[in-house]
Amino acid sequence: MSLVEVTDLTVEFGELRAVDGLSFALEQGAALALVGESGSGKSTVASALLGLHRGTGARVGGSVHVAGTDVRAASDEELRRLRGGKAAMVFQDPLSSLDPYYAIGDQIAEVYRVHTRASRRAARARAVEVLDRVGIPDAVRRSRSRPHEFSGGMRQRALIAMALACEPGLLIADEPTTALDVTVQAQILDLLHTLREETGMGLLLVTHDVGVAAESVDEVLVMRHGRAVEHGAVQEVLGAPSEAYTRELLGAVPRVDAARVAPQEVPVSEGGSGEPVLEATGLGRVFGRGKRAFNAVDDVSLTIHRGETLGIVGESGSGKTTLGRMLVGLLEPTAGEVRFDGRVRSGVDPAVQMVFQDPVSSLNPRRSVGESIADPLRARGEKDEGRVRGRVRELLERVGLEGAHYDRYPHEFSGGQRQRVGIARALAADPRVIVCDEPVSALDVTTQAQVVALLGELQRELGLALVFVAHDLAVVRQVSDRVVVMRRGRIVEEGPADAVYESPRDLYTKQLLAAVPALDPAEAARRRAARRELAVVV
């Protein structure tokens, strides 16, 4: 019998059918990825495998067998034995997935004792053993730390250690690397790969990221609206997709190894000898005082020219967002200066606008989107109501919405549409520079591609200078003429996008690029080897 057998599974929450007639099987030791965008029902499937919907009011239909347990028919006691004992789950956000008040080792020991009736001491020893197994240095001491004392990657390792504690036959990983930086993501994926080779456990990976799936599994099941779209071996599904949706999905995924496709209509000389708009010299920002002082940005100088896109890429804590906020004047630098049009500038200037990351918090929920977009016009002193409305309609239509949406409120729009509203608001100020701070990272890939395309169009049409701040190396490559790589508040590499991506000079840039998951499984294996080499060098 297979490790997992799901037949005709449906899960309904009230009116909403989250999973609709899904069937699949997973053999002992095999690895399957459920891939889909938000709302596809993939996480719901993962929860159903452990019977986590029991008692929540969700209606589950069909049959689910996991490791010999009939999940729907099992008694509460049988279900408890399955959970953590025969099948263990790793969640997306490792910080919120661990109890903040107890030491990591104690939490793992607690889980171990539930399933084995081992003594406290033996359980504690087991906890240290598995923590050591997942590569946590000095496991005896670190097992006494609480989750907030760990870094994100270490926490995810700890969570994997908890999963390993009872030697389950199946590991369910629900977006295990989504909250992590790309280099850490690569480490975690490598760890999962090694563990699978050594223990022979089955893996069910739930992810929105096609690249992560390609790195980790043998089989892929693409989901949409709760149904299976395409199911097959990873090479076939990702290499030669037969369904239109799969092709659309793959087409939208930005590739780090493909040069920028959009042709330049406004000629911009390479290397930045064009007309400079925004210049930063020796820019720095210190947060805190005294012993706790922390250099978020340290001595950064860069120039942005008319009509070009400058990509700023870096992992969390690299200072890229702080830099972006200083460039628009929302944050005062503690060192250096920003020049706009050759003049030193302090404070905000409507000609330098920003598009924000979070489509929810970037619009005031109490004001209609039209009013939000009209802000720069009114602030400029435009009193004529007719002209204001006319201009706002024009902008709404320009970003792909309807002029009649003026009086609607943000909650009536989807994430992608809100991001369009945010772009329209920035355009209303007739800006010359727009700094985009992670503008697409909260969006699904297909929406991401549309918003990125819109930004490119607007830039060509209006001759804007764009600063594109992002953690996603592939997206940055897709949009940028020049790229700046940041690490710990400093610029480690700068140059034309193709040069930086094709032949990086800095070791950190090399590591970053090697960590990006590849869409081709063969390529993924080659990169894994490359990562091992780089790790040895460091």
């Binding site: 989250a18 929860s47 905000v348 330098v352 005031n364 919405l401 992608g416 549409q417 100020a429």
Partner: protein, 340 residues
């Protein structure tokens, strides 16, 4: 559905997450709670009683301060003449022992004092709290330090003790109910100032406030357009919890004899002497005690309801027993339905 009308070229997955905001949703959520509705009705009735006190006593034909020695049996120590504490067609709820004052009249006039003082005190607290909280959050580092320090000190002052002591030293010529309201209001604004400061700081960090600054508005314009409306929800929620608290404090002060002084009637004051008379005239004890209980209970339940309606996250915590199944279904669907 509204999303069907939105025609931007979006793919199927970039959908609108349902969930409205604003006043209409507040009413919808409030109406869904049966307990809160009942409480609102009770509060409305109490306010009506208090407002109509002169009219009601005129219909009864009594006055809250008039003595009726003829209705008191001084031979038996001052208990009311007649059965049930002197209930009659003329005195609907009987009369007070010893003085013979009409209980119904004193009760409805007492409602005026209780509700009036509590509301006025709340207005004072909220006004000071909002001004100090906003100033601390938006002011310079130095202003914030100073105001926060003062707020900390105010929070540390024990309300009852300070009020008790302060009320003792102000000359008795000052109108008493106004004084009680002022004293409560001036001592107990610390918590609301802290809440407002924290909320303002949170709002200040939101992207839409940054966007508004980038539009070219000045600080005051940004505060008026983006920040102040965002404070409405927490301020209303906290005020709704302050009113019953203030009612209790006023009643306690009057009970101790330093709050509202005779002849002005007040529920707390009526209870001062009531325990001696509980056998001869039980309603003398039960009426003000019951009135206090019902008022504070209704206001508390209403406050919970308002909070639930304004802050759905709190809904699961302070749910008062109604609409549970509906909410539980919604709760179950929300986190899992949309995400994956």
């Amino acid at each position: 559905m509204s999303e069907a009308l939105l025609t931007a070229q979006t793919s199927g997955t970039d959908t609108v997450v349902p969930g409205a905001s604003g006043a209409r949703q507040f009413w919808r959520r409030l109406r869904a709670q049966r307990a809160a509705l009942v409480a609102a009705a009770v509060v409305a009735l109490l306010v009506l009683l208090a407002l109509a006190a002169p009219l009601l006593t005129a219909i009864e034909g009594q006055d809250p301060t008039a003595y009726h020695p003829s209705l008191i049996d001084s031979a038996r120590g001052g208990v009311p003449v007649g059965s049930l504490g002197g209930i009659s067609g003329e005195h609907w709820l009987g009369v007070e022992p010893q003085t013979g004052r009409d209980l119904f009249a004193r009760l409805v006039y007492g409602a005026r004092v209780s509700l009036g003082v509590a509301l006025a005190a709340t207005v004072v607290q909220v006004t000071i709290g909002v001004v100090v909280g906003v100033a601390a959050a938006l002011g310079s580092r130095w202003v914030d330090q100073l105001l926060s320090r003062i707020t900390d000190i105010i929070v540390a002052l024990p309300l009852m003790i300070m009020a008790l002591a302060l009320l003792a030293i102000v000359p008795s010529t000052f109108p008493r109910p106004v004084l009680v309201a002022l004293v409560i209001g001036l001592i107990a604004w610390g918590n609301i100032a802290k809440i407002v400061r924290a909320q303002t700081l949170t709002l200040k960090g939101l992207d839409y406030v940054s966007a508004s600054r980038l539009s070219g508005w000045g600080t005051w314009q940004v505060a008026r357009r983006e920040l102040l409306p965002g404070l409405a929800a927490p301020v209303i929620t906290y005020s709704a919890l302050l009113v019953p608290q203030n009612i209790t404090v006023e009643a306690a002060l009057s009970f101790l004899g330093v709050g509202v002084k005779p002849p002005t009637p007040s529920w707390g004051q009526m209870l001062t002497a009531a325990d001696v008379w509980y056998q001869a005239a039980p309603q003398y004890l039960l009426l003000p005690a019951g009135a206090l209980f019902v008022t504070v209970l209704a206001l508390t339940v209403l406050g919970d309801g308002v909070r639930t309606a304004l802050d759905p996250r709190a809904a699961s915590r302070l749910r008062v027993g109604t609409g549970r199944k509906r909410e539980a279904r919604a709760d179950a669907a929300e986190p899992k339905g949309g995400t994956s």
